[in-house]
Symmetry: D3
């Protein structure tokens, strides 16, 4: 198998979170894979609203374009809202996988149902949309928030215990076979929670890294005959003129 | 009833299309309504891909922010992909309505089923997503493309006939009671096609203008107790720093 | 814009309830609209069962026929079960809107989900059917009964507080962004409850009046090429012979 | 097993059609069952629109009330639109079954999918609603109209061949394992078509008769603890005052 | 009506349970029906896992083959997981009905919703799959386990009370109009629980017996033109070589 | 990463097909993976009916049990009907993946929709059930049969061209972004068809091998706290007594 260059994009601009994500990605990557964990040059410090998510997309897409220039074989979008996934698929030659998508599909192999445990309650709606979109609405038995802001995952010493406790409740109350961690910033908690709660726990970053590797190994990439062909060339105006495709 | 200031945002940067949209909006607005049709300062000249759509959102959101400063009572997002709608709802005090959403819900009052007739085939997937998201998947009996690029709607002399013909086929083959025009740039074709085909034809711009007016008249705006509360304040970096909410 | 004659039909035979409904309708009608609030000459005093609902339909349809003779431009069916809506659409030239339909679609513009608060628990099933039928099953997060009979809404001094309290619980427990009032007899409670609970509250009568006005303004009426064409002429026998279409 | 009195209600007022239905019912009834086939005293001569259907309900309900006085053990509503079924269930002590409901559920035992072959195209929408309501939307692979008015089923010598031909197409094009006849007036065609087309053909009248018999034999009737309890007593006004429940 | 030979297969190997099932079947069978209650020669003593269910199928299918040789007119598969139903339908000339299928469809005639009360919690997932598959996902409002192993239904003196209590809770908490007993071993509890709880209670064995009788009386059997035609002949190897179809 | 022992079970008893499957599996397996391709000691020569499928399960489960004794880390069930998957998950300590499941989930990463191209038309129903069960009903835009019996895939010189042609039609007529091959016996056609048709083509064997490897690498296996715990111990009778769990 040839070497694989895998770009993992943290769509927010917080470098320390990119480091956490990159470490989680590297920990599960196959021997031949090089992980490039990148941080966009523009956008929000964390993604906790539809507004943050929408505005994370240009920076994320710029990283896809940069990845294409760098010869990246595939991409992970490492935010649980899977921001800009369809647009990224139009732009990239290789496969692009979002961590919510990968986590939900991966969890579906582990039993009948899973629960998602995430950060703020206001992001639950987006996760519901994604579960519906990915065909996981029936398998997804609950989406639960810990009300911990994204960036406090790294600083709040009580965060790990609160998340673990919510995972425990999810299993007991939702009757789930597995838990999905609903934020890229939780990537390092996976093993601890699985051991504590006694069910498989899926981190989307790890799941997405393995999924992209598999797609590359199987020679599979986004179909480009219709909806996901390269976007038509056209004028882009103002601050976003650098995004113009020619 | 007090006067209403209604901002209609064309999310692409083509001024002539904003003019068409603005005219269609003004034609159906109630006497007390002032229509502000605006063009973003940045973004794509037309929206024909997920990539275009994603990159139209920052410019659109900047117009929401400007509208808020100008005291706008409500907003129409005048692109059939309803780009950035959830983010706009977090940002605006008043109601925000997308033209696909308004057109599909309005058509649902006119019978059992409708067909959508749109521009390029590659945008059909997005329209399917929206129909599903708005609960119109059963009512939406077909989405059909004329393969006319958005900006050629204004310049191609054969466009009107091809769209009319596709509407006629939609009614015959899909068994639809009504037709929805799937692009803001078709706003001026509504009466012509309805007369030619003999079924009600819904233009989303007109439908959305009346819908926002009604919501304002009823004192209704986006619920702001949970998912659609004002986004949490945080740092925004780089080219998008002007989007930071404080 | 030309003047609009809008017929609002209270499908039960209680005149005082027609007055409440008529007042709510007039309060939100546009300047050029004349509201005719009418009471059927036959049928049940209130609608609290499938039996009541079925037997309200002939009287309601007689009012549609009378409205057609009077030149009515559109119709509201002002009972939350939307009785006889499809039949009315076959009969009327202009648009016909039910208050459950209008309330649910209007509430869908205000966030991700709404709750319905209604009178008797035995009517919840009908509301579930309608939510499903209108594509609002996902958006409708709960339907809750106060166990107040319809006609006691006008006489029970505790009714307002019990309904308000149930609305408060709906928001807290269902995670809804908005509340829909599930009975035409609650039309006058809207502003009070919205202020008390802090979320948008939708009254179906008001929503339907504005919706019909909009459809009329947009030149839209029920498609009449198939299912909703005028019913075929045929013999009607017995007590219902006056309903015969010739 | 005790003797069973089974009332089969033809909801339209055409006596010759009641005779056809009664004959079909008697042909499949068990030895101990007495079939009462009845015609309402009021209503439309045939049911071919939502309007006809709505106005058939009072006459049908009057027959339920008469059946209760006569000690009927159960009821069949013998029109494929299942008019007034929920209301009838509130009124009757014993089970009530509609022929569309019985036909669709019965056909579901015969393979993966069935097609419905019916009279006029304008009634297809109602059949779709029922398929959805009864949980048969996936199993129902097609609903096809022969464009034969209901009362011409008895008089048009070409009717049988056209219906048979449409059944043949249904099997070939929809990939259905069985066919459901979509009108009570087709009850006598069942054996002929099944022999001609080579698949099981379900007549709703026969299916419903056997279903009601089975429910009676099993001691099962509509649950009456909630939605389907006897309707609350109240005033009924005008021409419908005889329907008042005391 | 001709005499009917009806084979009721208990897919587990516990003879005493076959006796209970056979008694319940005989109690509701019509006068002309002969019930053959049979026990497979191989398989699990009870069915409480996917593993048990899968391994009950060969023995069950051998009984179908034996029934065909004996001239059986139809079959009931008397385990609430409906094991091997599709395969049995390919093999049998006459109709085959599973007790979950019959119970859920029968309960659907009795109101808007039902609850299932079953044995072990680990079997709930299978019942959910079946409800979904049979189009009863909306009608099925809850599936509840008593945590009584199947074979203890016959020996545990407290079983009846626990099941009755769970049925009572199901009605109160799920708002169900009827209860479905989720195990063939509960067939003898039906009347007791219905009297105690005050709602109709459906035993699948009884429901399936009457359903098969009805299908036979109506001349209906599985469509055999496509998916359910006799399986193609081919070599069968090893211990299962006796299952080879020639 | 430690070495992985991966058991790929061909659920039919045709050794040459096991060889094809084993080769396809080995071709995509990661360096550290050892593929054990096994053939059951009992069962059908090919799986082309529900009957075949049901009777392939005991042999398949015996291979799971043998794999557990051999220390297998994970399993692939290499028949597109995913026979016995839930039972296998109860039995195995490590993850178990079916090829239909893996193929459909993998194809979902490649665009909006895929088509399945399979062998006999009578197996389409099973594939529809699986698509529904795995949440892929919306993504799966068509299931098409070539009417080539499974074992003729290896012997019919025209098979490859017919399958390729059907794949081409699937893309053109269904508007799919990718094609899924609906039989393990097609595993060696993947590259050829993808090159010929110009869209990504997913072979389930390859997809499942990579999926199991990923799950093992991520430390994930079936949740065993509820439905998928080890089956309760009990007596197994007759020919299947060797399947008894103690």
């Amino acid at each position: 198998m040839d070497d694989v260059l895998l770009t993992v994009i943290n769509p927010n601009t917080t470098e320390s979170m990119t480091a956490t994500i990159g470490k989680a990605a590297a920990a599960v990557a196959s021997p031949g894979t090089t992980v490039r964990a990148v941080t966009p040059a523009m956008g929000p410090a964390s993604i906790e609203s539809h507004y943050d998510e929408a505005l994370s997309v240009p920076g994320m897409l710029a990283e896809i374009a940069a990845g294409e220039r760098a010869g990246s074989d595939g991409y992970v979008i490492a935010c649980f809202g899977d921001p800009g996934l369809d647009a990224a698929r139009e732009l990239a030659r290789g496969p692009v996988v979002g961590i919510a998508e990968a986590a939900m599909r991966t969890a579906s192999y582990l039993g009948r149902g899973f629960s998602v445990v995430t950060t703020l309650g206001r992001t639950i709606g987006r996760a519901q949309d994604l579960a519906e979109h990915y065909g996981a609405a029936r398998a997804c038995r609950g989406i639960r928030a810990c009300e911990i802001p994204v960036l406090e995952l790294e600083t709040d010493p009580a965060a790990r215990d609160r998340i673990t406790e919510e995972c425990r409740r999810a299993v007991a109350e939702d009757g789930s076979d597995a838990v999905v961690l609903g934020c890229a910033g939780m990537a390092d908690l996976c093993a601890h929670i699985s051991a504590a709660v006694g069910v498989p726990v899926v981190d989307g970053v790890a799941a997405a890294v393995r999924t992209v590797e598999s797609l590359v190994a199987l020679g599979l990439r986004t179909g480009d005959r219709g909806e996901f062909a390269t976007p038509p060339a056209k004028a882009y105006t103002g601050m976003l003129s650098e995004f113009q495709i020619r």
